[in-house]
Protein backbone atom coordinates (compact mmCIF):
# COMPACT_ATOMS: atom_id res chain seq x y z
CA UNK A 1 0.00 0.00 0.00
CA UNK A 2 1.42 3.35 -0.89
CA UNK A 3 0.46 6.70 0.51
CA UNK A 4 0.71 8.27 -2.92
CA UNK A 5 -0.04 6.85 -6.31
CA UNK A 6 -1.70 3.55 -7.14
CA UNK A 7 -5.33 2.65 -6.59
CA UNK A 8 -4.99 1.58 -2.97
CA UNK A 9 -3.94 4.58 -0.95
CA UNK A 10 -4.13 5.16 2.78
CA UNK A 11 -6.80 7.79 2.19
CA UNK A 12 -8.98 5.40 0.25
CA UNK A 13 -8.49 2.65 2.82
CA UNK A 14 -9.57 5.06 5.54
CA UNK A 15 -12.59 6.17 3.51
CA UNK A 16 -13.55 2.54 2.88
CA UNK A 17 -13.22 1.75 6.59
CA UNK A 18 -15.44 4.70 7.53
CA UNK A 19 -18.00 3.64 4.90
CA UNK A 20 -17.93 0.05 6.20
CA UNK A 21 -18.47 1.25 9.77
CA UNK A 22 -21.35 3.43 8.61
CA UNK A 23 -22.98 0.52 6.78
CA UNK A 24 -22.52 -1.84 9.76
CA UNK A 25 -23.90 0.81 12.11
CA UNK A 26 -27.19 0.92 10.21
CA UNK A 27 -27.49 -2.77 9.27
CA UNK A 28 -30.33 -4.63 10.99
CA UNK A 29 -29.20 -6.94 13.78
CA UNK A 30 -30.30 -10.01 11.83
CA UNK A 31 -27.55 -9.26 9.30
CA UNK A 32 -24.87 -8.89 11.97
CA UNK A 33 -24.61 -12.50 13.09
CA UNK A 34 -21.00 -12.67 11.88
CA UNK A 35 -19.89 -10.07 14.43
CA UNK A 36 -20.03 -12.68 17.20
CA UNK A 37 -16.98 -14.50 15.84
CA UNK A 38 -15.05 -11.24 15.33
CA UNK A 39 -16.03 -10.10 18.81
CA UNK A 40 -14.77 -13.41 20.22
CA UNK A 41 -11.36 -12.75 18.70
CA UNK A 42 -11.34 -9.22 20.13
CA UNK A 43 -12.27 -10.52 23.58
CA UNK A 44 -9.48 -13.10 23.50
CA UNK A 45 -6.96 -10.50 22.36
CA UNK A 46 -7.84 -8.10 25.14
CA UNK A 47 -8.24 -10.81 27.79
CA UNK A 48 -4.63 -10.98 29.08
CA UNK A 49 -4.48 -7.31 30.07
CA UNK A 50 -8.18 -7.17 30.93
CA UNK A 51 -7.82 -10.14 33.29
CA UNK A 52 -4.92 -8.49 35.05
CA UNK A 53 -6.84 -5.24 35.43
CA UNK A 54 -9.94 -7.04 36.62
CA UNK A 55 -7.92 -9.13 39.07
CA UNK A 56 -6.59 -5.92 40.64
CA UNK A 57 -10.00 -4.22 40.48
CA UNK A 58 -11.84 -7.18 42.00
CA UNK A 59 -9.53 -7.28 44.98
CA UNK A 60 -9.74 -3.54 45.52
CA UNK A 61 -13.54 -3.48 45.14
CA UNK A 62 -14.09 -6.75 47.04
CA UNK A 63 -16.10 -8.17 44.15
CA UNK A 64 -18.56 -11.01 44.65
CA UNK A 65 -17.23 -14.51 44.25
CA UNK A 66 -18.94 -17.86 43.84
CA UNK A 67 -18.79 -18.51 47.60
CA UNK A 68 -20.31 -16.67 50.55
CA UNK A 69 -17.69 -14.76 52.57
CA UNK A 70 -18.82 -16.68 55.65
CA UNK A 71 -18.84 -20.39 54.69
CA UNK A 72 -21.24 -21.38 57.48
CA UNK A 73 -23.83 -18.77 56.55
CA UNK A 74 -23.35 -19.69 52.92
CA UNK A 75 -24.00 -23.34 53.69
CA UNK A 76 -27.11 -22.46 55.71
CA UNK A 77 -28.44 -20.33 52.88
CA UNK A 78 -27.79 -23.10 50.38
CA UNK A 79 -29.72 -25.51 52.60
CA UNK A 80 -32.56 -23.00 52.85
CA UNK A 81 -32.71 -22.84 49.06
CA UNK A 82 -32.70 -26.61 48.89
CA UNK A 83 -35.62 -26.78 51.31
CA UNK A 84 -37.56 -24.29 49.19
CA UNK A 85 -36.67 -26.22 46.04
CA UNK A 86 -37.91 -29.40 47.70
CA UNK A 87 -41.18 -27.70 48.63
CA UNK A 88 -41.61 -26.75 45.00
CA UNK A 89 -40.62 -30.26 43.95
CA UNK A 90 -43.31 -31.73 46.21
CA UNK A 91 -45.89 -29.56 44.50
CA UNK A 92 -44.52 -30.69 41.18
CA UNK A 93 -44.67 -34.34 42.26
CA UNK A 94 -48.33 -33.95 43.07
CA UNK A 95 -48.84 -32.69 39.53
CA UNK A 96 -46.68 -35.51 38.17
CA UNK A 97 -48.85 -38.09 39.89
CA UNK A 98 -51.61 -37.01 37.58
CA UNK A 99 -49.22 -37.25 34.61
CA UNK A 100 -48.07 -40.71 35.78
CA UNK A 101 -51.60 -41.96 35.56
CA UNK A 102 -51.46 -41.02 31.89
CA UNK A 103 -48.05 -42.74 31.42
CA UNK A 104 -46.25 -39.48 30.82
CA UNK A 105 -43.59 -38.54 33.37
CA UNK A 106 -40.43 -36.48 33.14
CA UNK A 107 -37.08 -37.44 34.73
CA UNK A 108 -35.79 -35.25 37.55
CA UNK A 109 -33.38 -32.61 36.27
CA UNK A 110 -29.93 -32.38 37.82
CA UNK A 111 -27.23 -29.79 37.43
CA UNK A 112 -23.47 -29.68 37.05
CA UNK A 113 -21.69 -26.74 38.61
CA UNK A 114 -18.80 -24.93 36.93
CA UNK A 115 -16.91 -21.98 38.33
CA UNK A 116 -16.19 -19.31 35.73
CA UNK A 117 -14.27 -16.05 35.83
CA UNK A 118 -16.10 -12.94 34.69
CA UNK A 119 -14.70 -10.76 31.93
CA UNK A 120 -15.41 -7.10 32.19
CA UNK A 121 -16.96 -5.63 29.08
CA UNK A 122 -17.80 -2.09 28.08
CA UNK A 123 -21.44 -3.02 27.90
CA UNK A 124 -21.49 -4.25 31.45
CA UNK A 125 -21.81 -0.69 32.63
CA UNK A 126 -25.12 -0.07 30.94
CA UNK A 127 -26.54 -3.45 30.11
CA UNK A 128 -25.14 -5.34 33.11
CA UNK A 129 -24.49 -8.29 30.83
CA UNK A 130 -21.78 -10.67 31.99
CA UNK A 131 -19.23 -12.43 29.84
CA UNK A 132 -18.01 -15.56 31.62
CA UNK A 133 -14.93 -17.55 30.68
CA UNK A 134 -16.68 -20.89 30.31
CA UNK A 135 -18.07 -22.03 27.00
CA UNK A 136 -19.36 -24.89 24.92
CA UNK A 137 -16.08 -26.79 25.30
CA UNK A 138 -16.72 -26.87 29.07
CA UNK A 139 -20.25 -28.14 28.54
CA UNK A 140 -22.04 -24.84 29.13
CA UNK A 141 -25.36 -24.57 27.33
CA UNK A 142 -28.06 -21.95 27.00
CA UNK A 143 -30.37 -21.96 29.98
CA UNK A 144 -27.63 -22.48 32.57
CA UNK A 145 -28.00 -20.28 35.64
CA UNK A 146 -25.23 -18.02 36.94
CA UNK A 147 -25.05 -18.00 40.73
CA UNK A 148 -22.89 -16.33 43.38
CA UNK A 149 -22.68 -16.87 47.12
CA UNK A 150 -24.12 -20.32 46.64
CA UNK A 151 -27.73 -19.30 46.10
CA UNK A 152 -27.97 -15.78 44.64
CA UNK A 153 -29.08 -16.14 41.05
CA UNK A 154 -27.66 -13.44 38.76
CA UNK A 155 -29.03 -14.49 35.42
CA UNK A 156 -29.29 -17.06 32.68
CA UNK A 157 -26.82 -18.02 29.96
CA UNK A 158 -28.30 -16.61 26.77
CA UNK A 159 -25.48 -17.19 24.31
CA UNK A 160 -22.60 -19.66 24.23
CA UNK A 161 -19.34 -19.39 22.34
CA UNK A 162 -16.64 -22.05 22.20
CA UNK A 163 -14.72 -20.62 25.15
CA UNK A 164 -17.04 -18.14 26.85
CA UNK A 165 -20.71 -17.49 27.41
CA UNK A 166 -23.01 -14.50 27.83
CA UNK A 167 -25.12 -14.26 30.97
CA UNK A 168 -28.20 -12.07 30.68
CA UNK A 169 -29.02 -10.80 34.16
CA UNK A 170 -32.49 -11.41 35.53
CA UNK A 171 -33.00 -7.64 35.70
CA UNK A 172 -31.87 -6.97 32.11
CA UNK A 173 -34.53 -5.19 30.07
CA UNK A 174 -34.63 -8.01 27.55
CA UNK A 175 -35.10 -10.78 30.12
CA UNK A 176 -38.62 -12.17 30.02
CA UNK A 177 -41.08 -12.56 32.89
CA UNK A 178 -40.37 -15.28 35.46
CA UNK A 179 -42.32 -16.92 38.25
CA UNK A 180 -41.06 -16.53 41.79
CA UNK A 181 -42.37 -17.45 45.22
CA UNK A 182 -42.08 -14.80 47.90
CA UNK A 183 -41.40 -16.16 51.40
CA UNK A 184 -41.02 -14.28 54.67
CA UNK A 185 -37.34 -13.49 55.22
CA UNK A 186 -37.56 -15.08 58.69
CA UNK A 187 -39.88 -17.82 59.80
CA UNK A 188 -41.76 -20.48 57.87
CA UNK A 189 -44.78 -18.61 56.56
CA UNK A 190 -46.46 -19.74 53.35
CA UNK A 191 -45.15 -18.45 50.07
CA UNK A 192 -47.04 -16.41 47.50
CA UNK A 193 -46.36 -16.88 43.76
CA UNK A 194 -45.69 -13.80 41.65
CA UNK A 195 -44.92 -13.28 37.98
CA UNK A 196 -42.33 -10.52 37.76
CA UNK A 197 -40.92 -8.73 34.72
CA UNK A 198 -37.84 -6.49 34.40
CA UNK A 199 -38.49 -2.79 34.77
CA UNK A 200 -35.23 -1.57 33.24
CA UNK A 201 -33.97 0.08 36.42
CA UNK A 202 -32.39 -2.98 38.01
CA UNK A 203 -35.57 -4.39 39.52
CA UNK A 204 -38.41 -6.77 38.63
CA UNK A 205 -42.05 -6.00 39.24
CA UNK A 206 -45.27 -7.93 38.88
CA UNK A 207 -48.53 -9.16 40.36
CA UNK A 208 -49.03 -12.13 42.64
CA UNK A 209 -51.77 -14.64 43.32
CA UNK A 210 -54.35 -14.18 46.03
CA UNK A 211 -53.69 -16.81 48.69
CA UNK A 212 -55.34 -17.47 52.04
CA UNK A 213 -54.34 -19.57 55.06
CA UNK A 214 -56.03 -21.06 58.09
CA UNK A 215 -59.62 -21.89 58.78
CA UNK A 216 -60.55 -18.22 58.83
CA UNK A 217 -59.18 -17.79 55.28
CA UNK A 218 -56.79 -15.03 56.26
CA UNK A 219 -55.10 -13.52 53.19
CA UNK A 220 -51.37 -14.24 52.91
CA UNK A 221 -49.59 -10.97 52.31
CA UNK A 222 -45.97 -10.29 51.53
CA UNK A 223 -43.97 -7.47 53.10
CA UNK A 224 -40.97 -5.37 52.24
CA UNK A 225 -37.87 -7.39 53.06
CA UNK A 226 -39.35 -10.79 52.14
CA UNK A 227 -37.29 -13.03 49.88
CA UNK A 228 -38.21 -14.10 46.34
CA UNK A 229 -37.08 -17.54 45.17
CA UNK A 230 -37.17 -18.84 41.63
CA UNK A 231 -40.11 -21.14 40.89
CA UNK A 232 -40.45 -20.77 37.13
CA UNK A 233 -41.56 -24.01 35.43
CA UNK A 234 -39.13 -23.38 32.56
CA UNK A 235 -36.21 -23.30 35.02
CA UNK A 236 -37.03 -26.30 37.19
CA UNK A 237 -33.36 -27.29 37.75
CA UNK A 238 -32.75 -23.91 39.38
CA UNK A 239 -35.78 -23.75 41.66
CA UNK A 240 -35.21 -22.29 45.08
CA UNK A 241 -32.39 -19.95 44.07
CA UNK A 242 -32.71 -16.47 45.52
CA UNK A 243 -33.85 -13.89 42.97
CA UNK A 244 -33.90 -10.89 45.32
CA UNK A 245 -35.65 -9.05 48.13
CA UNK A 246 -39.02 -7.35 48.05
CA UNK A 247 -38.36 -3.60 48.16
CA UNK A 248 -41.87 -2.31 47.48
CA UNK A 249 -45.38 -3.69 47.92
CA UNK A 250 -48.55 -2.14 46.55
CA UNK A 251 -52.06 -3.16 45.55
CA UNK A 252 -52.63 -4.27 42.00
CA UNK A 253 -54.88 -1.52 40.54
CA UNK A 254 -56.53 -4.07 38.25
CA UNK A 255 -57.31 -6.49 41.06
CA UNK A 256 -57.18 -4.95 44.55
CA UNK A 257 -57.06 -8.34 46.29
CA UNK A 258 -53.71 -9.08 44.70
CA UNK A 259 -50.41 -7.51 45.58
CA UNK A 260 -47.86 -5.99 43.23
CA UNK A 261 -44.25 -6.36 44.33
CA UNK A 262 -40.95 -4.88 43.24
CA UNK A 263 -37.96 -7.15 43.69
CA UNK A 264 -34.35 -6.03 43.73
CA UNK A 265 -31.43 -8.51 43.55
CA UNK A 266 -28.95 -8.32 46.41
CA UNK A 267 -25.94 -8.65 44.12
CA UNK A 268 -24.97 -6.04 41.53
CA UNK A 269 -23.80 -7.92 38.43
CA UNK A 270 -21.28 -5.18 37.74
CA UNK A 271 -19.28 -6.15 40.81
CA UNK A 272 -18.78 -9.86 40.29
CA UNK A 273 -15.44 -11.63 39.94
CA UNK A 274 -16.52 -15.28 39.59
CA UNK A 275 -19.79 -17.14 39.22
CA UNK A 276 -21.00 -20.70 39.46
CA UNK A 277 -22.72 -21.85 36.27
CA UNK A 278 -25.43 -24.41 37.05
CA UNK A 279 -25.75 -26.42 33.86
CA UNK A 280 -28.74 -28.78 33.60
CA UNK A 281 -27.18 -32.23 33.24
CA UNK A 282 -29.22 -34.03 30.58
CA UNK A 283 -26.96 -37.12 30.60
CA UNK A 284 -27.47 -37.75 34.29
CA UNK A 285 -31.13 -37.01 34.05
CA UNK A 286 -31.59 -39.61 31.36
CA UNK A 287 -29.74 -42.33 33.28
Amino acid sequence: MSARGGFITSGRVLAAAIAACLVCAVLPVRLLGWTGAVSGVAVRLVAPVSDLGKWIGDRAARAETEEHPDPEIGRLQELESLVRAQEMRISELRAMLDALEQGDILPEARVRQLVGRVFSTSASRAERTLLVRRGAKDGVAEGAAAVVRGRHMLGVVSDVNESFCVVTPLVARNAGPIEVIVHPAEGDGPGVPFVVSPTGDGTRRGPGQFRTEGAEQRPVEVRVGDEASLSDPAMAPHWGLLVGDVVEVERDPESPLRQLVTIRPRIDTRNVARVVLRVPDDDRASE
Partner: protein, 187 residues
Protein backbone atom coordinates in the same frame (compact mmCIF):
# COMPACT_ATOMS: atom_id res chain seq x y z
CA UNK B 1 3.37 7.19 13.51
CA UNK B 2 4.51 3.75 14.56
CA UNK B 3 1.56 1.38 14.07
CA UNK B 4 3.20 -1.27 16.27
CA UNK B 5 3.56 1.12 19.20
CA UNK B 6 -0.02 2.27 18.75
CA UNK B 7 -1.38 -1.31 18.67
CA UNK B 8 0.52 -2.33 21.81
CA UNK B 9 -0.50 0.84 23.66
CA UNK B 10 -4.13 0.41 22.58
CA UNK B 11 -4.05 -3.23 23.71
CA UNK B 12 -2.82 -2.22 27.16
CA UNK B 13 -5.18 0.75 27.52
CA UNK B 14 -8.22 -1.19 26.30
CA UNK B 15 -7.41 -4.11 28.59
CA UNK B 16 -7.03 -1.82 31.60
CA UNK B 17 -10.20 0.01 30.61
CA UNK B 18 -12.12 -3.27 30.56
CA UNK B 19 -10.54 -4.61 33.70
CA UNK B 20 -10.63 -1.54 35.90
CA UNK B 21 -14.06 -0.19 34.91
CA UNK B 22 -15.71 -2.09 37.77
CA UNK B 23 -13.34 -0.54 40.30
CA UNK B 24 -13.72 3.03 39.04
CA UNK B 25 -17.46 3.17 38.51
CA UNK B 26 -19.64 5.58 40.49
CA UNK B 27 -23.19 6.92 40.51
CA UNK B 28 -25.10 3.67 40.80
CA UNK B 29 -22.63 1.88 38.60
CA UNK B 30 -23.43 3.30 35.17
CA UNK B 31 -20.76 5.99 35.21
CA UNK B 32 -17.21 4.77 34.66
CA UNK B 33 -14.31 6.59 33.04
CA UNK B 34 -12.84 5.59 29.72
CA UNK B 35 -9.10 5.13 29.42
CA UNK B 36 -9.36 4.66 25.66
CA UNK B 37 -10.80 8.15 25.15
CA UNK B 38 -7.81 10.09 26.56
CA UNK B 39 -5.50 7.76 24.65
CA UNK B 40 -7.29 8.55 21.38
CA UNK B 41 -7.21 12.28 22.21
CA UNK B 42 -3.48 12.01 22.91
CA UNK B 43 -2.88 10.32 19.55
CA UNK B 44 -5.01 12.95 17.79
CA UNK B 45 -2.97 15.72 19.42
CA UNK B 46 0.30 14.54 17.95
CA UNK B 47 -0.22 12.13 15.03
CA UNK B 48 -0.75 13.16 11.40
CA UNK B 49 -4.44 13.77 10.68
CA UNK B 50 -5.04 10.64 8.64
CA UNK B 51 -3.25 8.37 11.10
CA UNK B 52 -5.12 9.94 14.01
CA UNK B 53 -8.48 9.35 12.31
CA UNK B 54 -7.57 5.74 11.53
CA UNK B 55 -6.39 5.17 15.10
CA UNK B 56 -9.61 6.59 16.52
CA UNK B 57 -11.66 4.46 14.15
CA UNK B 58 -9.76 1.32 15.20
CA UNK B 59 -10.13 2.08 18.91
CA UNK B 60 -13.85 2.77 18.54
CA UNK B 61 -14.34 -0.38 16.48
CA UNK B 62 -12.74 -2.46 19.22
CA UNK B 63 -15.06 -0.86 21.77
CA UNK B 64 -17.99 -1.77 19.53
CA UNK B 65 -16.83 -5.36 19.26
CA UNK B 66 -16.43 -5.62 23.03
CA UNK B 67 -19.86 -4.12 23.68
CA UNK B 68 -22.66 -6.63 24.08
CA UNK B 69 -26.05 -5.09 23.52
CA UNK B 70 -29.04 -6.81 25.06
CA UNK B 71 -31.76 -7.30 22.47
CA UNK B 72 -35.48 -7.19 23.15
CA UNK B 73 -36.81 -10.71 23.40
CA UNK B 74 -33.48 -12.13 24.55
CA UNK B 75 -30.02 -12.55 23.13
CA UNK B 76 -27.21 -10.10 22.57
CA UNK B 77 -25.50 -8.54 19.58
CA UNK B 78 -22.40 -6.55 18.79
CA UNK B 79 -22.98 -3.59 16.48
CA UNK B 80 -19.78 -2.40 14.81
CA UNK B 81 -19.79 1.23 13.81
CA UNK B 82 -21.38 3.64 16.29
CA UNK B 83 -18.40 3.99 18.63
CA UNK B 84 -15.93 3.78 15.74
CA UNK B 85 -17.57 6.68 13.92
CA UNK B 86 -18.06 8.56 17.19
CA UNK B 87 -14.38 8.22 18.03
CA UNK B 88 -13.40 9.28 14.50
CA UNK B 89 -15.52 12.43 14.88
CA UNK B 90 -14.01 13.07 18.32
CA UNK B 91 -10.57 12.85 16.74
CA UNK B 92 -11.60 15.50 14.18
CA UNK B 93 -12.48 17.87 17.02
CA UNK B 94 -9.03 17.39 18.53
CA UNK B 95 -7.37 17.77 15.12
CA UNK B 96 -9.20 21.08 14.66
CA UNK B 97 -8.25 22.28 18.12
CA UNK B 98 -4.64 21.16 18.33
CA UNK B 99 -3.28 24.21 16.57
CA UNK B 100 -4.78 26.41 19.28
CA UNK B 101 -3.57 24.61 22.42
CA UNK B 102 -0.36 24.06 24.35
CA UNK B 103 0.79 20.64 23.25
CA UNK B 104 3.22 20.12 26.10
CA UNK B 105 0.75 20.55 28.93
CA UNK B 106 -1.27 17.83 30.67
CA UNK B 107 -4.07 20.38 31.05
CA UNK B 108 -4.59 20.17 27.28
CA UNK B 109 -5.35 16.45 27.50
CA UNK B 110 -7.52 16.93 30.60
CA UNK B 111 -9.59 19.65 28.90
CA UNK B 112 -9.85 18.10 25.45
CA UNK B 113 -10.79 14.64 26.71
CA UNK B 114 -14.32 15.58 27.89
CA UNK B 115 -14.84 17.85 24.88
CA UNK B 116 -13.97 15.08 22.42
CA UNK B 117 -15.82 12.59 24.59
CA UNK B 118 -19.08 14.51 24.34
CA UNK B 119 -18.79 14.45 20.54
CA UNK B 120 -18.09 10.69 20.70
CA UNK B 121 -21.10 10.03 22.92
CA UNK B 122 -23.51 12.23 20.95
CA UNK B 123 -22.47 10.65 17.63
CA UNK B 124 -22.60 7.05 18.89
CA UNK B 125 -25.89 7.57 20.73
CA UNK B 126 -27.46 9.30 17.72
CA UNK B 127 -26.54 6.44 15.41
CA UNK B 128 -27.96 3.85 17.81
CA UNK B 129 -31.08 5.92 18.34
CA UNK B 130 -31.64 6.30 14.59
CA UNK B 131 -31.27 2.56 13.97
CA UNK B 132 -33.70 1.99 16.83
CA UNK B 133 -36.38 3.59 14.66
CA UNK B 134 -36.42 0.67 12.21
CA UNK B 135 -34.57 -2.09 14.12
CA UNK B 136 -35.41 -1.96 17.84
CA UNK B 137 -32.47 -2.92 20.04
CA UNK B 138 -33.98 -1.82 23.34
CA UNK B 139 -31.79 1.27 23.38
CA UNK B 140 -32.74 4.23 25.58
CA UNK B 141 -30.88 7.21 24.19
CA UNK B 142 -31.57 9.66 27.02
CA UNK B 143 -30.30 7.40 29.79
CA UNK B 144 -27.26 6.24 27.83
CA UNK B 145 -26.37 9.79 26.78
CA UNK B 146 -26.68 11.01 30.38
CA UNK B 147 -24.42 8.34 31.85
CA UNK B 148 -22.12 8.61 28.82
CA UNK B 149 -21.71 12.37 29.31
CA UNK B 150 -20.87 11.89 32.98
CA UNK B 151 -18.45 9.11 32.08
CA UNK B 152 -16.50 11.30 29.64
CA UNK B 153 -16.34 14.10 32.21
CA UNK B 154 -15.01 11.55 34.68
CA UNK B 155 -12.46 10.48 32.05
CA UNK B 156 -10.61 13.75 32.61
CA UNK B 157 -9.18 12.19 35.78
CA UNK B 158 -7.59 9.19 34.08
CA UNK B 159 -6.46 11.56 31.32
CA UNK B 160 -4.22 13.34 33.82
CA UNK B 161 -2.81 10.02 35.01
CA UNK B 162 -2.31 8.72 31.47
CA UNK B 163 -0.55 11.88 30.32
CA UNK B 164 2.71 11.10 32.08
CA UNK B 165 3.37 7.55 30.79
CA UNK B 166 2.15 8.51 27.31
CA UNK B 167 4.31 11.63 27.25
CA UNK B 168 7.26 9.56 28.46
CA UNK B 169 6.66 6.98 25.73
CA UNK B 170 6.20 9.62 23.03
CA UNK B 171 9.46 8.89 21.15
CA UNK B 172 8.27 5.28 20.73
CA UNK B 173 5.19 6.45 18.81
CA UNK B 174 7.42 8.32 16.33
CA UNK B 175 4.89 11.02 15.60
CA UNK B 176 6.04 12.64 12.40
CA UNK B 177 3.73 15.63 12.14
CA UNK B 178 5.65 18.87 11.61
CA UNK B 179 3.66 20.63 14.32
CA UNK B 180 4.95 18.31 17.08
CA UNK B 181 8.57 17.84 16.03
CA UNK B 182 9.96 19.55 19.11
CA UNK B 183 7.64 17.69 21.50
CA UNK B 184 7.89 14.20 20.05
CA UNK B 185 11.52 13.54 21.00
CA UNK B 186 12.60 13.62 17.35
CA UNK B 187 15.11 16.08 16.08
Amino acid sequence: MSIGAFVIALWIVLGLDEGLSGLMRVGGGDVAPSLVLPFVVFIALYAPARAATGAALAAGLLIDLLTLRALPGGGTAEIPGPNALGMALAAQVVLAARGLVFLNSPVTLVVLTPVAGIVWQVAATSLLAVRGLYDPIGFRAAGVLGSGALSVLYSAGPALVLWFPLRWAMPVFRFDSPHVARWSGRR
